[in-house]
C-alpha cells in the first residue's frame, strides 16, 4: 500500500530538481499566508461578495491585470533562467530537458496568460467608460470569461510542480507533441490550460463586439468613437475569427493523444503539416490581436499629451481594419522553409510586406499628432515616444524576415527571436505599460510616482536594447533558437553575456515598477479631479475611481473627443454645467456561477490530463448543471436608488442637484 502511494507520488509530483522543490515550498507557503491573512482579518465574506462573484467590469479588469502581472513575474523568471543558462558557453545550470520546458512555458505564459489578460484587463476597465456605458453588454458572461482564463492559467502553471511541464515549444508542433514522442502529462496540461482560457477569450471577443457596436452613449457614432475603442473592436473581430481555429486545432491534437487518432501523427496517414497551417492561422492573427489595442493606447496618449486632436483619425481607423484583415492572409510566412513552393511563398511574402503600409500610416499619424503640439512628457507619453524607434526597428526587421529567400537564412535563428521580442515587448508590453500608467488614476484614484516611473522606463529600455540588439547579431552569426548550450569556439560568448545583462536589467526594471506601485500607495495623493491629465475622452468626465454604475447621468455625445470639447465650451462660457435629474439605474446582480463553473472546468481539464474519468465526468456534469441553473435564473438585476447615487457622487466630491 505505502509502496504504491510512493510510486504514485513520484510520478504525480515533479521531483529531483531544487528549483521545483523551491517552487513547491513557495506555493505552499503563499497559500498558507493568503488563507491565514484572510481568516485573521475575517475577509472571506468580503472577498466573495466584492470580488469573486463580482460582475462589475472595472473589478474584473483589475483582477485580469493583477493575474497578468503575476504571470509576467512567472514568465520573466523563466526568461532569466534561460538567459542565465546561455550567459556563458558550456553552462551547467539547466539540463537540456529542463531548458525545453522553460522556453515552452515562457512563450505560452507570456502570450496567452500575460499579454492577453493584460489586454482584457484594459478592455474591461476602460472601454465601457470610454463609450459612456454603464457596463459591458453581458456582465455575467464577462465574469465567466475571466474565471475561465483564471482556471486555465492555474491549470497550466500547475504543470510545473505536478506531472511535468510541456516541452514541445509554445505552439506544440507535432509529431513532437504527439503521444509517441511526448507521453507525459505536460502536453495535456498545455492543451487544457489553453483550451479552457481560450473559450474565455472567445466570449470576451463576442462580448466587446456587442458592447462597442450596441451600447455606446447617445450621439456617439462610430466615427466619433475614441481610438482605443476602435482598436478593441478590430482586435475583437480578429479574436472571433481566429479563436475557433485554435479551439479546433487543440481539440484535434487531443483526439490524437487521447483517442488514438491520426490527424497529425506520422503513421496512419496523419499530416503534421496540417497542424502547422492550422495553428498559424490562429497564431499569426493572435499577434495582431494583442498589438492592435496597444496602437489604440498610443493614439489616446499621443493626443492627450500633445494637446491636439489625433492626426488622421479616419486613416487610423482604416489602417486598423486593414491590419486585422491582412493578419489572416500571412500565416504561411512562419514556414517559408518547409516546402510550400515558390508561388505560395511569394504570395505570403507580399501580403506580409503589405502590413508594413498601414502600420507605417499609424506611426506617421502619431508623429504628425505631436508636430506643433504642446507636448509634455509625463510617464505615459515617455513610454509612447520611447516605443516609436523600438517599434520601427522591430517592424523593419520584420520586413527583412518577410523576404522569403532571405528567410532561409534567418529562419529559427536568434535574428527571429530578437525580431519578435522587439515587436511584442516594444509594441505590446510597453504599450500596455503606457496604458497602465495613463489610466492608473482612473482605475485606482491616484497617480503613480513620476520619478520612479521614469527610472522604470529607462531601465526597461536600456535593458531591452542590451538584451535584444546582440541577438540580431547572434542570429546572423548562426546561433539558432531553442539551443540550450554552445561551445567556446563559436565566438558567441560576449554577445550572449551582454544579452543576459540586458535581461537582468529588465528584471530590475520590473521590480522598480512594483516599488513604484507600493510607494505610490503609501504616499497616495487622491485624484479629486477625475481628469488628472487634462484628457479628451469620456472616461475622464466622471470621478476616479469610477463609481460602480459609471455614469450618474448618461452623457450626450456631440463630437469626437467629446469631453475635451465640453471642457472648452464651459471654459468659453458657451455651456454651463447643467442641472440634471437623476433616475434609478438598472444594474446586474453579482453571481457565484462563473467562478463555480470555472472550477468545474478545472476538474474537467485536470481529470482528462491524468486520464481520471472519475474526476472529469462529474466536472463536466457540474459545468452543464451551472449552465442550466443560470438559464433558469430570471432574477439577475436590480435598480440603484437615486439616494444611493447622490450619496456615492457626494463621497466622490460631486454634488448633484
Amino acid at each position: 500500500m505505502w509502496e504504491s502511494v510512493k510510486e504514485f507520488a513520484s510520478e504525480f509530483f515533479v521531483t529531483g530538481d531544487p528549483l521545483i522543490y523551491g517552487a513547491d515550498v513557495s506555493i505552499v507557503l503563499s497559500i498558507i499566508a493568503v488563507v491565514s491573512v484572510l481568516t485573521y482579518f475575517k475577509k472571506w465574506g468580503w472577498l466573495w461578495r466584492e470580488w469573486l462573484t463580482t460582475v462589475d467590469h472595472k473589478k474584473i479588469g483589475i483582477m485580469y491585470i493583477l493575474a497578468s502581472v503575476l504571470m509576467l513575474f512567472r514568465g520573466g523568471v523563466d526568461a532569466l533562467l534561460m538567459r542565465a543558462q546561455l550567459a556563458m558557453p558550456e553552462m551547467q545550470f539547466l539540463s537540456g530537458d529542463h531548458y525545453n520546458q522553460i522556453f515552452t512555458t515562457h512563450g505560452v505564459i507570456m502570450i496567452l496568460f500575460m499579454a492577453m489578460p493584460l489586454m482584457f484587463g484594459l478592455f474591461n476597465v476602460i472601454v465601457p467608460l470610454q463609450l459612456g456605458a454603464r457596463d459591458v453588454a453581458f456582465p455575467f458572461l464577462n465574469a465567466l470569461s475571466f474565471w475561465l482564463f483564471f482556471s486555465g492559467a492555474m491549470l497550466f502553471n500547475l504543470s510545473f510542480v505536478i506531472g511535468g511541464s510541456p516541452d514541445a515549444g509554445w505552439l506544440a508542433y507535432p509529431p513532437y507533441s504527439e503521444l509517441a514522442f511526448n507521453p507525459g502529462p505536460g502536453q495535456d496540461f498545455y492543451i487544457w490550460g489553453i483550451q479552457i482560457s481560450g473559450i474565455g477569450s472567445l466570449m470576451t471577443g463576442i462580448n466587446f463586439i456587442v458592447t462597442i457596436l450596441k451600447v455606446r452613449a447617445p450621439g456617439m457614432t462610430l466615427m466619433k468613437m475614441p481610438m482605443f475603442s476602435w482598436s478593441v473592436l478590430s482586435s475583437c473581430i480578429a479574436i472571433v475569427f481566429a479563436f475557433p481555429i485554435l479551439t479546433v486545432t487543440l481539440a484535434l491534437l487531443f483526439i490524437d493523444r487521447y483517442l488514438g487518432g491520426h490527424f497529425f501523427t506520422l503513421d496512419g496517414g496523419g499530416n503534421p503539416m496540417m497542424y502547422i497551417n492550422l495553428i498559424w492561422m490562429w497564431g499569426h492573427p493572435e499577434v495582431y490581436i494583442i498589438v492592435l489595442p496597444a496602437f489604440g493606447i498610443f493614439s489616446e496618449i499621443v493626443a492627450t499629451f500633445s494637446r491636439k486632436k489625433l492626426f488622421g483619425y479616419k486613416s487610423m481607423v482604416f489602417a486598423m481594419i486593414i491590419i486585422s484583415v491582412l493578419s489572416f492572409l500571412v500565416w504561411a510566412h512562419h514556414f517559408f522553409t518547409m516546402g510550400s513552393g515558390a508561388d505560395v511563398n511569394a504570395f505570403f511574402a507580399v501580403t506580409t510586406m503589405l502590413i508594413a503600409i498601414p502600420t507605417g500610416v499609424k506611426v506617421f499619424n502619431w508623429l504628425f499628432t505631436m508636430f506643433r503640439g504642446k507636448i509634455t512628457f509625463e510617464t505615459p507619453m515617455l513610454w509612447m515616444v520611447g516605443i516609436i524607434p523600438n517599434f520601427v526597428i522591430g517592424g523593419m526587421t520584420g520586413v527583412l524576415l518577410s523576404v522569403a529567400p532571405a528567410d532561409f537564412q534567418y529562419h529559427n535563428s536568434y535574428f527571429l527571436v530578437a525580431h519578435f521580442h522587439q515587436v511584442i515587448i516594444a509594441g505590446v508590453v510597453f504599450g500596455f505599460f503606457a496604458g497602465l500608467y495613463y489610466w492608473w488614476p482612473k482605475i485606482f484614484g491616484f497617480k503613480l510616482n513620476e520619478r520612479i516611473g521614469r527610472w522604470a522606463f529607462w531601465l526597461w529600455n536600456i535593458g531591452f536594447y542590451l538584451c535584444f540588439m546582440p541577438q540580431y547579431a547572434l542570429g546572423l552569426m548562426g546561433m539558432t533558437r531553442r539551443l540550450y548550450t554552445y561551445g567556446w569556439d563559436k565566438g558567441w560568448f560576449e554577445m550572449n553575456l551582454v544579452s543576459t545583462i540586458g535581461a537582468v536589467i529588465m528584471g530590475a526594471a520590473f521590480l522598480v515598477q512594483i516599488w513604484d506601485i507600493a510607494h505610490s500607495i503609501k504616499h497616495m495623493k487622491r485624484d479629486t479631479t477625475g481628469d488628472p491629465w487634462n484628457a479628451r475622452t469620456l472616461e475622464w468626465s466622471i470621478p476616479s475611481p469610477a463609481p460602480f454604475y459609471n455614469f450618474a447621468v448618461m452623457p450626450q455625445v456631440t463630437s469626437q473627443d467629446d469631453w475635451h470639447e465640453r471642457k472648452l465650451r464651459i471654459e468659453q462660457g458657451l455651456e454651463k454645467p447643467a442641472k440634471v435629474e437623476l433616475e434609478p439605474i438598472h444594474m446586474p446582480k453579482n453571481s457565484g456561477i462563473p467562478i463555480v463553473m470555472s472550477m468545474f472546468w478545472f476538474f474537467v481539464g485536470f481529470g482528462l490530463i491524468f486520464d481520471w474519468l472519475w474526476m472529469a465526468v462529474p466536472g463536466f456534469i457540474g459545468v452543464i448543471a451551472c449552465m442550466v441553473v443560470h438559464s433558469f435564473n430570471y432574477d439577475t438585476d436590480y435598480y440603484v436608488t437615486v439616494e444611493e447615487i447622490k450619496r456615492t457622487e457626494a463621497e466622490a466630491g460631486r454634488v448633484i442637484t
Binding site: 492550422l278 440634471v580 435629474e581 433558469f632
Partner: protein, 198 residues
C-alpha cells in the same frame, strides 16, 4: 442636458435584442469551427492508410433517412415559431417536443451508423480519414445533442413562465441554432457522403 434625460429610456439597451445579436456572432464562430473541421477532413479524406475508404463504409439509405428526418425537424421548429407568434403556448411546446423527438431519431441513426462502422473494424484510430470523419460528423452530432438538451430546458421555461419577451428570445435563438445545424448537415451530407461515394 435636461432634455437628454428625457430620452433616457430610448437609449437603454434592449437585452433581448443584444442577446440575439451576440448569438449571431457566436454562430459565426461556430461556422469557422466547422469550416476548420471540413478543411481538415478534405485534406485527410484520401489518407486511408490502406484501410477502408468512404465507398466501403457509407450506407446511403440510412443517410438519406437521417437527412430527411433532420430537415423535417427544422421545419417543425419553424412551426413552433409560428405557433409562438400566434401566442399559442401549447402548440409551441408540442412542436418543440416534436423537434426534440426528431433530433433524437437522427441521433439514434447516427449512433447506429457509427456502431456498424466500428463493428466492421473502422475505428477512429484506423486511419487519418476515419479520425477526420468521426470528428467532423461527431462534432455535428454533439451539437445536435446540446441543441436537444437546450430545447428541453426552453420547453420547461415556457411551461413555467409562458410566452414572455425572455422565453420568446430563447425560442428564437434555439430555433436559429437548429436551422444552423441543418445547414451544416447539408454540407456534411454533400461533402462527406455524396462526394465520398461518387
Amino acid at each position: 442636458m435636461a432634455n437628454v434625460n428625457a430620452g433616457h429610456h430610448d437609449h437603454h439597451p434592449d437585452q433581448e435584442e443584444l442577446r440575439t445579436f451576440a448569438f449571431w456572432i457566436y454562430l459565426m464562430t461556430d461556422v469557422i469551427l466547422f469550416a476548420t473541421l471540413f478543411a481538415t477532413y478534405i485534406v485527410l479524406q484520401g489518407s486511408t492508410d490502406g484501410g477502408p475508404g468512404p465507398k466501403d463504409l457509407f450506407q446511403m439509405s440510412g443517410i438519406y433517412a437521417s437527412t430527411f428526418i433532420l430537415l423535417t425537424s427544422s421545419f417543425t421548429s419553424g412551426l413552433a415559431i409560428l405557433a409562438m407568434n400566434k401566442g399559442n403556448r401549447l402548440a409551441l411546446m408540442n412542436w418543440l417536443g416534436v423537434t426534440v423527438f426528431l433530433g433524437a431519431s437522427f441521433l439514434f441513426l447516427e449512433i447506429n451508423e457509427f456502431i456498424h462502422m466500428v463493428s466492421e473494424g473502422a475505428t477512429i484510430g484506423t486511419s487519418a480519414f476515419l479520425t477526420a470523419f468521426y470528428t467532423l460528423v461527431g462534432t455535428h452530432g454533439l451539437h445536435v445533442t446540446l441543441g436537444m438538451g437546450w430545447m428541453i430546458i426552453v420547453i420547461m421555461q415556457i411551461a413555467k413562465h409562458g410566452i414572455t419577451p425572455v422565453t420568446k428570445r430563447k425560442v428564437n435563438i434555439i430555433s436559429l441554432f437548429w436551422h444552423f445545424l441543418d445547414v451544416v448537415w447539408i454540407f456534411v451530407f454533400t461533402i462527406v457522403y455524396v462526394m465520398g461515394v461518387n
